[in-house]
Symmetry: C2
Subunit: 221 residues, 2 copies
């Protein structure tokens, strides 16, 4: 992991809430590595389209994938996309409605989604995606066959143009509102955690979840 600064372009320079901008590339990596879902934005017939999808990061490449027949993937291929990953950490209750907010971490990535070609590179992309969502699974499950590979589009997005924004901590109320009696202010944190594994009903009843599933337990950072 490098500690290079994010090198913002015009559109990835944060103008609103500058104090929330993060410029360390390690913060981008941390957020992406902890996430499991992104929102992919493309322009389709002149209008924006935003779809939730999985992703995987390897170095400064973000991989996306999908059915090769999907219109959204076809719209993304070779064109400018925007990929956003957001974690909501809490609700910020302020003394004034105006200062209500949420605590969050977000990464907004701009770039051209390039089709990944060649079996080796495509399998690497799919491995990265699988391991992001379900670490340990690539070496556990059956790997893609010819037909499955042919049915899958893999896209790569360079992480060079990205903006990371973080809000944390208590509300930023106006001085004049601070002493208002009877008005509560603070943060209500939002937590994520893993539930108990739910085995596939078609699995043998004595099948035990493997270590890479069982180790995913409790709170998610």
């Amino acid at each position: 992991m490098t500690t290079d600064a994010l090198s913002p372009t015009g559109r990835s320079t944060i103008r609103r809430g500058k104090d929330r901008a993060r410029t360390d590339r390690a913060e981008l990596y941390n957020l992406l590595d902890g996430g499991m879902l992104c929102h992919l934005g493309v322009v389709l017939d002149g209008a924006p389209l935003v779809l939730p999808t999985c992703y995987g990061r390897d170095g400064d490449t973000l991989y996306l994938h999908g059915s090769s027949g999907a219109a959204s993937l076809r719209a993304a291929e070779g064109t400018e996309v925007c990929v956003t990953v957001t974690e909501l950490d809490g609700i910020v209750y302020a003394r004034s409605v105006f200062h209500f907010s949420v605590n969050y971490r977000s990464a907004v990535i701009h770039g051209r989604a390039v089709p990944v070609t060649g079996d080796e590179a495509r399998l690497h992309g799919l491995r990265t995606l699988t391991e992001q969502v379900a670490p340990g699974s690539w070496d556990h499950a059956r790997l893609p066959n010819r037909r499955e590979l042919a049915a899958t589009t893999v896209l790569a997005l360079d992480l060079s143009e990205a903006a990371v924004k973080v809000r944390s901590g208590p509300p930023g109320d106006d001085e004049a509102d601070l002493g208002t009696p009877g008005v509560w202010a603070g943060v209500l944190p939002l937590r994520r955690s893993w539930g108990e594994p739910e085995p596939c009903p078609l699995l043998s009843p004595d099948a035990v979840p493997p270590a890479h599933v069982q180790s995913r337990t409790g709170p998610i950072a």
Copy 2:
């Protein structure tokens, strides 16, 4: 709450994974009402831009807001936007990498984001937004003053053109993979829950969170 069907247009008709499509308008309302964050997609300088933001629903109107100086809000004003709300419910472990998936609920809304004008209508929009994120807060906190209202843009998006997609349940493995010995398959659920309220450090130490905050406790559906 109506039980009207969603009336899909070409772009809001789900083509991939049709079995995941939901057509009951009540499912759209349920998902939106339980969510706290959406991803707003706009086209800015010809490229897509996806930003996380709060929203509020009242009937068939979705309200968005932001600083009147924000480029993203200016880009959204009066133009076609896409608003997507997604809840990730779990990771689907399959017997083959190809069938790995996630359980989720998503709503993708297309439409023109119309600026809300007039104090009364704008305050109604802001109330809807505040109550979505922090129910009970509009009557607890100080309401927006002139200056704050002037600094805030409120946009309204009609919910008529929306697509709801839900994936739930176990993996959809191929018949041929079902009996593979030693390979686990199933769902690892992802839970959300509220943490303990964290009072603002500038609050009097004996201040107690009000009922509308204290009642937000435990798991989030």
